[in-house]
């Protein structure tokens, strides 16, 4: 008997219309946990590097976290993996909502899609009954609209739906998969789903999920619940509001957006507006929010209120998620009312709220610079808001210039030429990043930006304060109840960290300390991504209810696996290394590991080299960032080493051929 997990995956071959329920190996769960860990194992074994994002041989894996469907609070994430059309590397993005637990209750840990359907279909999973059904009537429909129509069509109001909108159908490189009040947005997962001809996966489950040692597990849940209450009543002093409490309350509940609007860049990640936030704007934006916002809502089994229903005037209601609240507003130099309005269209179309606004702002910069001309934008309105709507509509339909822009700024710039490349300035590994441009290099963030393979800073940072506290007594107070640290040395790192002088950035934390800090933060995110835990109750936060000390107990009492801090740390390192191995095999090398050139004004090439060298060594990777034989063997990844040898990975010294063109352009007719 399997505990916490179901022990079965659903394998769906869309080319042949074949569906199989396949038992999984318990040993894999013990070594790679679930979610991202076992997804990565499947991607390594079954998707060789020759396979393109839009090949029928690419897989699209919907993996539930190991503890999804158990009573673990906030554990509801689905980890979706595939080969990204945009980065051509492994894409993995997480979505909260209700889908993962529902799939567990239906009796499956993962849904693995392969092949391509000849026509648009949806997958209907009701416990043991699984069908591939015609979805031609849903073509062009919005993602939210599709979910509603399918629940009505199937007469299953409790079914959970993961769907794509028009962007996914037309293989826009930054198309998302939308689900409830959440989405898997990064890396173009929606484009791969559209390429496979799958409009939606609908799930309803009515089976049991078991625990190995229930009393112990429930006691841990009680502790987490008590800590969530404590944290809510005792915000952390000295940090910005979003980091002082759990969840992401700034999204919908908190109106004070001084920090985001004044510190993040507007337009195409260009303009900082230092004195933007005023009393008048605060009043106006608060009024907008009060007029449009319905209820504050959460994902499955979570007491937070990170999301909200939004009803923009004259438009249907939708569920807002994450930082989309501000990205469109800031890209268009507009106001909150515009941002909340266009996000409704963007959610129905299904696009990534980070990439989409930047692509549009990038297009307008090119127009301003004369690289693109009025002829490229026939019929586009004059006003900024109207232009953004026009661009969004053209991108998701791949019409006119929209067909090029739909490939994201990196590929679009290459296709447009004429110096457009320098306008695609805010990318890492070909993907648009948060619009942040800062002054002094931060060594911890340098390493996270360079080596993070999730390509999203918010999905690697969190456990360690982002900046030094000016007053020593505040630092002392901060470390006092900081029991989440894996080692006492982290407290000392923080206590000694000064705002100015010798022990300040960029030379402090030292490269060795930076390795520890980055490794800890990354590890916690990778653990969350295997367990299905929301980062909002865990790795994104300082002093979170879940940490390295209680996670092993959750896993062992939930699943029955032997697990302590050392075993868990090693498991996380195993599949983290496997993620890197997949990308290494696809040609990723040291040359790809750099932040946007203009991310910091003050750069230190020698220090940066030392940081990266030290970190690679610390991680057991060679000077190209490739895991070494010793590292791989120690983690039981001998099969990776054999494959690396066979493919000559160690001998190519960073000169691995990167593919010259985008995966495939043009819309599918």
């Amino acid at each position: 008997m399997r505990f916490a997990e179901t022990g079965y995956n659903l394998e769906i071959d869309l080319t042949r219309g074949n569906i199989e329920r396949v038992a999984t190996a318990p040993e894999d769960s013990a070594l790679y946990l679930g979610g991202l860990g076992t997804n990565a194992k499947i991607m390594w074994e079954r998707v060789p590097p020759e396979v393109d994002a839009f090949s029928p041989d690419n897989l699209l894996v919907f993996g539930t976290g190991l503890l999804c469907g158990t009573p673990a609070i906030g554990c509801n994430r689905t980890i979706v993996t595939t080969i990204s059309p945009q980065t051509q590397l492994l894409a993995f993005s997480m979505m909260g909502g209700f889908w993962a637990p529902e799939l567990k209750y239906a009796g499956y840990d993962k849904v693995i899609l392969r092949g391509k359907s000849p026509g648009l279909v949806y997958v209907w999973i009701k416990d043991d009954k699984v069908e591939i059904r015609d979805a031609s009537h849903l073509k062009g429909k919005g993602a939210v609209e599709t979910a509603k129509l399918l629940c009505e069509e199937l007469k299953e109001p409790k079914a959970q739906v993961a769907a794509i909108g028009m962007a996914g159908e037309n293989r826009v490189y930054f198309a998302s998969i939308e689900q409830s009040r959440s989405s898997a947005s990064r890396g173009g997962l929606g484009a791969v789903m559209g390429d496979k001809g799958v409009k939606a996966i609908v799930v309803r489950g009515t089976k049991d999920i078991h625990l190995a040692r229930p009393a112990e597990f429930m006691h841990l849940c009680d502790e987490v619940m008590d800590y969530i209450k404590f944290r809510g009543e005792n915000p952390i002093p000295g940090v910005i509001p979003i980091l002082a409490v759990l969840g992401s309350p700034q999204e919908m509940a908190i109106h004070d957006e001084k920090w985001h609007t004044e510190n993040f860049m507007w337009g195409n990640a260009r303009v900082r507006r230092k004195d933007f936030w005023s009393e008048e704007i605060a009043r106006e934006w608060t009024r907008t929010m009060e007029e449009m916002r319905g209820r504050l809502i959460s994902c499955y089994n979570c007491p937070m209120h990170c999301g909200a229903t939004i009803s923009p005037p004259g438009k249907p209601t939708y569920m807002m998620k994450c930082f989309s609240k501000l990205t469109y507003t800031m890209a268009a130099f507009s106001d909150l009312a515009f941002g909340l309005g266009i996000a409704q269209s963007a959610t129905e179309y299904g696009v990534d709220g980070y990439s989409a606004p930047q692509v549009m702002a990038f297009a307008l910069e090119l127009l301003e610079a004369g690289i693109l001309t009025e002829n490229d934008f026939p019929g586009m309105p004059e006003d900024s808001e109207g232009r953004f709507y026009w661009l969004l509509d053209h991108i998701v339909r791949r019409e006119g210039i929209g067909d090029i822009l739909a490939n994201g700024t990196y590929w679009a710039a290459g296709q447009i030429g004429k110096g457009a490349e320098k306008y695609a300035h805010n990318n890492i590994k070909k993907q648009e990043q948060l619009p942040l441009k800062l002054s002094m290099l931060n060594p911890v963030y340098f390493l996270m930006y360079c080596t993070g393979e999730k390509l999203n800073i918010t999905q690697i940072e969190g456990q360690f304060p982002q900046a030094a506290f000016p007053a020593r007594e505040d630092r002392e107070a901060f470390v006092k109840d900081w029991f989440q640290v894996p080692d006492e040395k982290f407290k000392q790192y923080f206590l000694d960290w000064e705002v100015r002088g010798e022990k300040s950035i960029p030379s402090y934390p030292t490269p060795e300390m930076c390795c520890d800090i980055v490794d800890w933060q990354e590890r916690m995110h990778y653990i969350d991504d295997a367990l299905g835990m929301c980062a909002g109750l865990s790795s994104f936060h300082l002093k979170a209810p879940y940490h390295i000390h209680n996670y092993p107990k959750f896993i062992s009492s939930g699943t029955g696996f032997d697990m302590d801090e050392a075993t868990l740390t090693k498991a996380a390192k195993r599949y983290r290394t496997l993620v890197r191995a997949i990308n290494t095999r696809r040609g990723m090398r040291r040359k790809d590991e750099k932040p946007p050139a203009d991310h910091w004004k003050k750069r230190f090439p020698e220090l940066e080299k030392e940081l990266l060298d030290t970190y690679y060594t610390f991680k057991g990777w060679n000077e190209q960032g490739i895991p070494t034989e010793e590292t791989l063997r120690d983690l039981g990844l001998d099969y990776v080493y054999e494959e690396f040898l066979k493919r000559g990975v160690y001998s190519d010294n960073g000169a691995a051929p990167s593919q010259a063109g985008p995966a495939m352009t043009g819309k599918e007719v």
Partner: protein
């Protein structure tokens, strides 16, 4: 008439505070699993959240007594412009629907306020306070147990006469073990 004190336990459902997370369904099914907490399955829960986020419908409903037959007609509420699904507020497991039944056996379930716990687990897990427990003491009349029987007997006497009834009781008590 004599009175006695009774503790009345009420779960106050503030639907306005519900964030729709369904932790109540999950923990209810876990508490009622055998052994306790060994499994969970919201489809077995004795509470369900009628939940339609886009219509702003969030309505936790508890399972009550099972109805042997479905009602002659059904009801559908519209409150504040929001149309709730048919029989949304009804607590009864009923032949007309699958709500409040074990998904495998079809056996009806009923909220028992989590017997043996300080408070129902749904209340404990709902830290958004959509579900809270209220307890109050009430003076209730001591109901005379005989009353109901008296009414029944009186109607039998009226129909058959007292003598026939006494004869019948005598016959039954001498011939049947159930009166021993």
């Amino acid at each position: 008439m004599a009175t006695q004190k009774k503790i009345v336990r009420t779960i106050k459902i503030n639907a306005d505070l519900c964030n729709g997370c369904r932790a109540c369904e999950m923990i209810c099914s876990a508490f009622h699993a055998l052994p306790k907490y060994s499994s969970n399955n919201p489809a077995r829960a004795r509470i369900r959240v009628v939940r339609h986020p886009l219509e702003d419908i969030y309505m936790p409903v508890y399972a009550g007594e099972s109805a042997g037959a479905e009602c002659a007609g059904r009801d559908k509420y519209v409150i504040g412009g929001k149309e709730y699904e048919e029989c949304a507020f009804c607590r009864a497991p009923c032949p007309s629907r699958n709500e409040f039944r074990e998904p495998d056996s079809g056996i009806p379930v009923r909220c028992d306020m989590c017997e043996g716990e300080d408070k129902p687990l749904c209340v404990k897990w709902c830290i958004t306070d959509a579900l809270t427990l209220e307890e109050r003491e009430e003076e209730v009349e001591v109901v005379e147990q005989q009353e109901e029987l008296d009414i029944g007997l009186e109607s039998l006497v009226e129909k058959h006469g007292i003598q026939k009834l006494l004869d019948a009781v005598a016959r039954m008590s001498s011939s049947s073990k159930i009166f021993e």
